[in-house]
């Protein structure tokens, strides 16, 4: 009896015990990617076939080894325009008919150019393999680039550029590329509206004839196909494609960095600062690729990396902080990024520098190394789960001329990386003492916070135009305007003018006082002034409820004077938490 009782007790404890540590894995399941079949047509088009019959679908990629950086110097945007317009009309189809033909099959064809490559991607149910291959060949070989479609492309592209300029991520990338790549064409992330205007049909036709030649391309097919059959169909569809000459372009070398620089894109109204720290690193084919991958995994890739743990989990500055290596054919960058709330821009930079220096100065631990390697080897099969994923792996291997056994030895290469390798590549490819800092956000708010990191500061507007830095940051010198006084404000509320009385007392940068309106009277206790701007909240009772009226004001100074002490005009916005009324504009005059 007692024995049974004891056993039960032990049994119960054991139930609790198994939860205390992570369970051991089951027996490992091997995973191998077979080698694809490779051949070349008589016109030197390389063909890679990977038979994958898991599901009745097929994916094609026709990739050209030239991209946006191969644009002629006077025709930025040409590759991108030419590629995008392939499906806007061909010898046998109008743009509309093409779209209908492709989508009637439930299939997709898209054509895009990146910096290094231009890729036409097609996917369909395998039962439509022949149809989709025929349509893909049609747009690659026989595009007509109709004038009317080009005109529309140009109009839409120019509007899209405006849209891009409203995105903080685009602005950050634009400046980062400019600063880091200098006169290398990677510095250009997007054509300008002027570039777009200059595109002509003749240029597109000429460029298409010259660049889209089979001896500069690789066709990759993954899916439920039969090798012999598909090869025959490919020869039929693309065998007559005439060879051309492939030009080798020489590019300028990106500049050598010598000091920390800071670039701000002044995006007023920003709720956050988009921070990027960047320096040149390695190209895709570099032998340090695997050590760099492991090192970056520890520093800033994903939700358990050092940057994420510090800036998000510990400090709560951001929704996410990451680092990455962008490795291209010619060169590449290291980048550390986060979108942080404006007030902690400087504090975030401090933490970035702390982590970048730490991974250079101290060895990573055995555990960190092991965890990073386990992750990178473990996720590899997950990336090959879908046909898209598997195709992308094969495409990058072929486009970047990686070894034939690259996919087969990928996990082994990761496993071989040592602590010394990580230390060496961290020291070599992360250079905080000469890094480029780019921040997109509210320049007035950001400037005083970033002064400690480098005096080398430039400011751009969202159009990419350089600004006079001396026009900014006057408040950083301690010249804070005095908002004290009795103010009479006029608020514009849906076309009506509403009066408000504002009494302000300012001591250094602290503001107190009162606000009186038709809704009632409220006390201001925690207002703040900075430069010629101030913000304050007035707490009051409105219709029996506690409410806070928020006021953001700006004292207007004489344009041609540096006098910031006395002012008798202000403007700004006021928010009343009733019916969602926010940011009503007002103007104010000081009463004598």
């Amino acid at each position: 009896m007692r024995l049974t009782f004891d056993l039960n007790m032990t049994g119960k404890n054991m139930i609790e015990d198994f939860r205390k540590t992570a369970p051991a894995p089951l027996a490992p399941v091997p995973f191998d990617i077979p080698q694809p079949f490779e051949t070349e047509l008589a016109n030197n088009l390389k063909v890679v076939i990977f038979e994958d019959s898991r599901l009745p679908i097929v994916s094609f990629r026709l990739a050209f080894l030239s991209g946006n950086i191969n644009d002629p110097a006077d025709s930025k945007g040409l590759t991108s325009a030419m590629t995008s317009m392939l499906s806007e009309g061909t010898k046998s189809y109008t743009s509309r008919r093409l779209a209908e033909e492709i989508e009637r099959l439930g299939a997709h064809i898209s054509a895009n150019s990146g910096q290094d490559n231009s890729i036409i991607a097609a996917s369909a149910l395998s039962l439509y393999t022949s149809d989709i291959l025929r349509l893909m060949a049609e747009i690659v070989l026989y595009p007509t680039f109709p004038e009317s479609e080009l005109k529309l492309y140009k109009q839409n592209m120019i509007e899209n550029l405006k849209f891009q300029r409203s995105q903080p991520g685009f602005l950050a990338d634009e400046q980062m590329s400019r600063v880091v790549y200098g006169s290398h064409p990677y510095s250009v992330t997007s054509p300008t509206p002027d570039d777009i205007e200059k595109l002509t049909r003749e240029k597109l036709v000429e460029f298409h004839n010259r660049r889209f030649v089979p001896n500069n391309a690789t066709l990759i097919i993954v899916g439920d196909v039969n090798r012999e059959d598909i090869l025959e169909e490919i020869s039929g569809a693309l065998g007559d494609w005439k060879k051309g000459s492939v030009e080798k372009t020489e590019f300028e070398t990106p500049p050598v960095r010598t000091a920390v620089t800071q670039t701000i894109v002044d995006r007023s109204g920003s709720a956050q600062s988009n921070i990027v720290l960047a320096n040149l690193a390695i190209e895709r084919g570099h032998p340090d690729f695997f050590p760099v991958l492991v090192m970056n995994q520890i520093l800033g890739s994903g939700g358990s990396s050092r940057l994420f743990m510090n800036l998000r989990e510990e400090k709560g500055y951001t929704y996410g902080a990451y680092s990455s290596f962008d490795t291209r054919r010619q060169a590449g960058t290291f980048e550390a990024t986060a979108e942080v709330r404006t007030a902690v821009t400087g504090d975030s930079l401090k933490e970035f520098f702390y982590e970048l220096n730490k991974i250079r100065d101290e060895n990573v631990s055995e555990v960190e190394l092991k965890d990073a390697k386990n992750f990178l080897t473990g996720v590899f099969p997950i990336r090959a789960e879908t046909q898209e994923g598997l195709t992308n792996l094969i495409v990058s291997q072929k486009l970047y001329d990686l070894p034939g056994d690259y996919l087969q030895t990928y996990r082994e290469k990761i496993s071989q990386v040592s602590i010394e390798d990580v230390d060496r590549v961290a020291k070599k490819y992360i250079t905080p003492d000469k890094i480029a800092i780019v921040i997109v956000g509210d320049a007035e708010e950001i400037l005083p916070q970033i002064q400690p990191f480098s005096a080398n500061i430039e400011i751009f507007d969202t159009e990419g135009k350089p600004q006079d830095v001396s026009n900014y940051g006057k408040q950083a010198d301690g010249k804070t305007s005095d908002a004290s006084g009795d103010w009479s404000l006029t608020i514009d509320f849906q076309g009506q003018s509403l009066p408000v009385k504002l009494k302000l007392e300012q001591t250094e940068n602290k503001i107190s006082g009162s606000l009186e309106s038709m809704l009632g009277k409220g006390e201001i206790s925690d207002g703040k002034a900075k430069g010629n701007k101030f913000s304050a909240t007035a707490k009051m009772q409105i219709q029996g409820q506690d409410a806070e009226i928020t006021i953001n004001g700006e004292l207007e100074n004489d344009a041609d004077s540096n006098q910031t002490s006395a002012s008798n005009k202000m403007k700004g916005t006021i928010s009343i938490p009733l019916g969602g009324v926010s940011d009503l504009p007002f103007v104010g005059i000081k009463e004598d």
Binding site: L55, E103, G106, G378
Partner: protein
């Protein structure tokens, strides 16, 4: 086409634990990875006034540690095993999922079970995650052009607060959340009998069952959560609103309609009508407006699929100096054409092929399968719907589309949100 094309059905096995946890297994060993999805039956639809944003804040809390898994270790355990994971919140549910190498199935189950039975809700974690959510809101909504418009339109379409408020919620409500509130939320909604667990990928079903029993059977069930009411009157909440967006570079407008719940023949018909109207370059509105009139730069549309009344949204970013009401007239006349004449034979063939293609592709990843199965299990109580959903959609006729469009996509019951760029430039 559909008669000759057979998609092999997914292998499914479903059962319940004694504590009410619903379990579905979908073995498929083509690649040695395994995905787990835990779906809790709680979303923003369960939130009441003054308590918005709780479901989503809670999703963050689920990564803050439990009895045997310390703060942030969840990420780390998954990553160092070579896996990926995340959690998301919608109006309908909160989900958590991980994909791992096949031999790490026990790890995933251990992690999910530990937080289901013993989440650590502390003042410090709560404060920290409140901040992370506020940054997420700034990043995704406040700092993006057009970032707020979908939430605004939802508020214009739905009258019932359960449906109309946003998932991210109000920051004031989040500030008011106490540790006790959050603990109570956990007790009520994060019980095994309020959840579904789906495992999809390379595993032995008997082994998986043993592991599920071991980790989940000991978790106590809880009384049923409060019943919610998501019913809606037919009419929408608000017909028209102007919104000044400081970050928007171009004007835009969005039109929303209230439509019947997901998985009803009428919803399915509207879903297909939507594909014909705005999906792809051969779609009607793309050909009319981006091409044709050349009056807009961008067209978008989608159905917001809910268990209760749902919505369909169509929007456009017009070129400068365009007459927006004329663009809307063209849109409405195209919709009216669908309501009068239905879809053409060629359009019906396109829909069939697209549905089959989409279905086959969605079967590739174990994670996508696990998530789709979990939705059917949680919303409909029937995971096998994943094997018949395609058939149901293929049954929809041109006549069905015509009738549904005619009934629901009217000018008089639409919500129109006009976005006006209000930046300094």
């Amino acid at each position: 086409m559909s008669e000759t094309f057979q998609i092999p059905p997914l292998k499914l096995e479903q059962y319940n634990l004694e504590n009410g946890l619903r379990v579905v297994l979908n073995p498929d060993s083509s690649i040695p990875v395994v995905s787990m999805a835990v779906y809790y039956d709680v979303g923003s639809r369960n939130e009441r006034q003054g308590r918005t944003g709780f479901a989503h804040l809670f999703e963050h809390m689920m990564f803050q540690g439990s009895e045997n898994v310390k703060k942030a270790e969840h990420f780390q355990y998954v990553m160092k095993a070579g896996g990926t994971m995340n959690g998301t919140t919608s109006s309908e549910r909160t989900n958590y999922y991980e994909t791992l190498p096949a031999n790490q199935l026990p790890l995933g189950l251990w992690l999910e079970s530990d937080r289901m039975r013993s989440l650590a809700v502390t003042e410090e974690n709560l404060e920290n995650q409140r901040n992370a959510v506020k940054e997420e809101k700034r990043l995704r909504y406040d700092n993006q052009p057009y970032g707020q418009v979908f939430d605004m339109l939802t508020t214009m379409v739905f009258k019932n607060f359960a449906n109309s408020h946003s998932t991210i919620g109000s920051m004031e409500d989040l500030d008011d959340a106490t540790v006790e509130d959050v603990q109570e939320f956990f007790r009520v909604y994060y019980a095994p009998n309020n959840a579904v667990l789906v495992i999809s990928g390379a595993f032995e079903p008997e082994e998986a069952k043993r592991q599920v029993e071991k980790f989940f059977a000991g978790i106590e069930s809880q009384p049923k959560p409060p019943v919610i009411d998501v019913e809606e009157p037919a009419e929408i909440a608000e017909n028209y609103q102007d919104y000044e967006d400081k970050l928007a570079p171009l004007p835009a407008f969005l039109i929303g309609w209230k439509i019947p719940p997901r998985r009803t023949p009428e919803f399915d018909a509207i879903y297909l009508a939507g594909k014909l109207l705005y999906d792809g370059e051969s779609s009607r509105l793309y050909q009319k407006l981006v091409k044709g009139e050349e009056s807009i730069v961008q067209l978008f549309g989608f159905t917001d699929e809910r268990r209760g009344p749902s919505s369909v949204i169509i929007g456009a970013i017009p070129k400068p100096e365009q007459d927006l009401s004329k663009i809307r007239e063209t849109m409405m006349s195209e919709i009216d054409d669908l309501a009068t004449n239905g879809a053409s034979a060629e359009e019906m063939q396109k829909l069939q092929n697209q549905l089959i293609n989409d279905t086959v592709r969605s079967r590739q990843s174990s994670m996508a399968r696990a998530q789709a199965i979990a939705e059917y299990a949680l919303y409909d109580g029937d995971p096998t719907l994943i094997n018949s959903e395609l058939e149901d959609l293929l049954k929809i006729t041109s006549e069905d589309i015509k009738t549904a469009v005619n009934k629901f996509l009217k000018t008089e019951n639409r919500a129109l949100l006009n976005v006006i760029p209000a930046g300094k430039n």
